[in-house]
Subunit: 351 residues, 2 copies
């Protein structure tokens, strides 16, 4: 026989390439996509206890780390592959790239494989606004962003869309990064102030996002920079040995985290004793514990990124594929007519 | 701008579909491919201590399990996604499907994504012959295969090619499975005997492969079926609660395993105390310990499948892609001109 094999429909897994992810996001607008993902994250955090939770599985090397972040709600399973290589940028590669998979728990078959570098940027901003919705003061209008790299614009647009932020104050140790962000946000409708000093950037801000990229202990915010009533959204400290906030700020704040066993290793609170009290964000979302309780309280979301957020983002993208065809079909699952006859499938392919 | 985005060369990851995997395997011949993978496995087991080793990460459900199996040698990282769903076959799905990824540790970028359902069948047979090369008697000519499902023909051809087996004796509780294997192996040059009783199948065999699929404690081999000098290649017992051999056989055998912490949970030796002495196959390969030491010795390879074997198989396939184009290029890695400007890449795509 010389028949070219025609894969069965069961062989195919939808794949969202970088190009198609850009089409999906631009088709609905970045801010709308982030807001949509935020709603999925909030819904999934509300049913937190139905998820399998495990700290990420990391393979460390001198150059960086490769991680797998799996989770499951019993019906759907998802995982993200993500690398973190601080030296990549200087060599023309991305510091962080990612892809992810969503599967059907009932039969184990993948139902989606997708780029997640862009999607992770969106879900990180989405997680930030989910937390801020519950922790920032109600009339927050001004956001400071310290660190104006790849995450900066997504933060700005997310806070504008979901929290009603009107003004942003930017600072980066590299002024060209700030200039890039100002250019990219020129038509956003936000009032933008570029600062050459971090003290000016945080002055008068209701919310402070820190998202710097150095893999080291770096004190981005010192104690005197943080006034009463501020909400701090700390997302740059996300691995052992990398923090952004002075310890004294932590001691003055009420601290909210995603998954304590992971945050104690990777987050700002790695500076504190292992039993230092922290609050789980999902309990705030369900109403079990209070978020902000006074105008003068300093709230800190010590965010490191958790598998359930990626799961939510994967679910969101999977749901967008329904009617549109923003994906390719990968012939990825061997599907013999008789499951016991894998060899026969191979032999009959005759290619 | 309305310029369609042209992904940078860094955006692409080679993908081996099921169709292309069949082309690669059939192009060189199944037995040659298994022999090639066996050499890669032997080479990697020889440098066992240079690998990160961790038991697989499993997400269990009522219907089955989804597992991630990562490992790294410090230069290359690999993982396999694999499901195991015993009820799938009755619903027209594969019990086990898999795909895998190989990455560059230095920058974290994937260098290969491939189907692994077929590839896993080959690497399982390859691992069997690596072990038998060191553990079976030198003049082994007859192989019994108990369980004639998806793995059966790969076992037969692997043992013919690498060990010089001339005769196979087949048994399955389902005679149509045996008939399928006989048909598929008709032109192999092997002398084939179909048996309707497992005692007949093992009679006179130098090597016994057990590869049944039921997810339960099932005694496929009882003590009286195993004579002096036999090598048992037990590959069907590969998860908690699933074994194939009567405990008394284990007590009469010298037991060889891949990675003891995993085998004690998943292998035949889950029937034995946690401190029961077993031998690591890699130490036999390096010559540190002896394999077969006498003609009358019963050797047992209690195989459950380990991440390094998948790593070897991924390396092997990656090396086959060099000159030929048996792969597609997936636009999977977002690669902005300026790594800090992910948002600008998205905006400039304008799609």
């Amino acid at each position: 026989m010389n028949i070219a094999p025609v894969p069965s429909p069961l062989a195919f897994v939808p794949f969202v390439s970088v190009s198609n992810m850009m089409k999906i996001i631009n088709g609905m607008g970045v801010a709308n996509a982030i807001a949509g993902i935020a709603d999925y994250i909030e819904a999934d955090f509300r049913r937190w206890e139905s998820f399998d939770k495990t700290p990420r599985i990391a393979a460390h090397s001198h150059e960086g780390v490769i991680e797998l972040m799996p989770t499951s709600d019993g019906e759907t399973y998802g995982f993200k592959y993500v690398n973190g290589h601080p030296a990549n940028m200087a060599r023309g590669f991305q510091t962080v790239t990612a892809f992810g998979v969503l599967s059907n728990v009932a039969n184990g078959y993948p139902v989606l494989i997708t780029e997640m570098t862009l999607l992770t940027a969106l879900r990180t901003a989405a997680t930030s606004v989910v937390a801020a919705r519950h922790l920032a003061s109600e009339n927050a209008k001004t956001l400071a962003i310290i660190g104006n790299g790849a995450q900066c614009e997504f933060q700005a647009l997310a806070f504008q869309k979901v929290l009603g932020i009107e003004k942003i104050q930017l600072y980066d140790i590299d002024q060209s990064a700030t200039a890039k962000a100002v250019r990219n946000l020129a038509s956003s409708g936000l009032t933008i102030t570029s600062c050459t000093d971090p003290h000016n950037a945080v002055y008068g801000a209701d919310i402070i996002t820190t998202c710097t990229a150095d893999k080291q202990y770096a004190t981005i915010l010192t104690d005197n920079m943080v006034g009463a009533g501020v909400h701090i959204n700390a997302i740059g400290g996300d691995c052992p040995g990398k923090t952004e906030l002075h310890r004294d700020i932590l001691l003055r704040s009420d601290i909210f985290v995603e998954f304590p066993p992971q945050t104690r290793i990777e987050g700002e609170i790695q500076q504190l004793p292992d039993d230092y009290p922290v609050n789980e964000l999902w309990r705030v979302i369900t109403g079990e514990i209070k978020g902000r309780t006074s105008k003068s309280q300093i709230t800190l979301f010590d965010s490191v990124g958790f598998a359930i957020e990626d799961f939510s983002a994967l679910r969101y993208i999977h749901d967008q594929l329904g009617e549109k065809s923003h994906c390719e079909q990968l012939d990825m699952i061997a599907d013999p007519d008789d499951p016991r006859d894998l060899f026969g499938m191979l032999e009959r392919a005759d290619i």
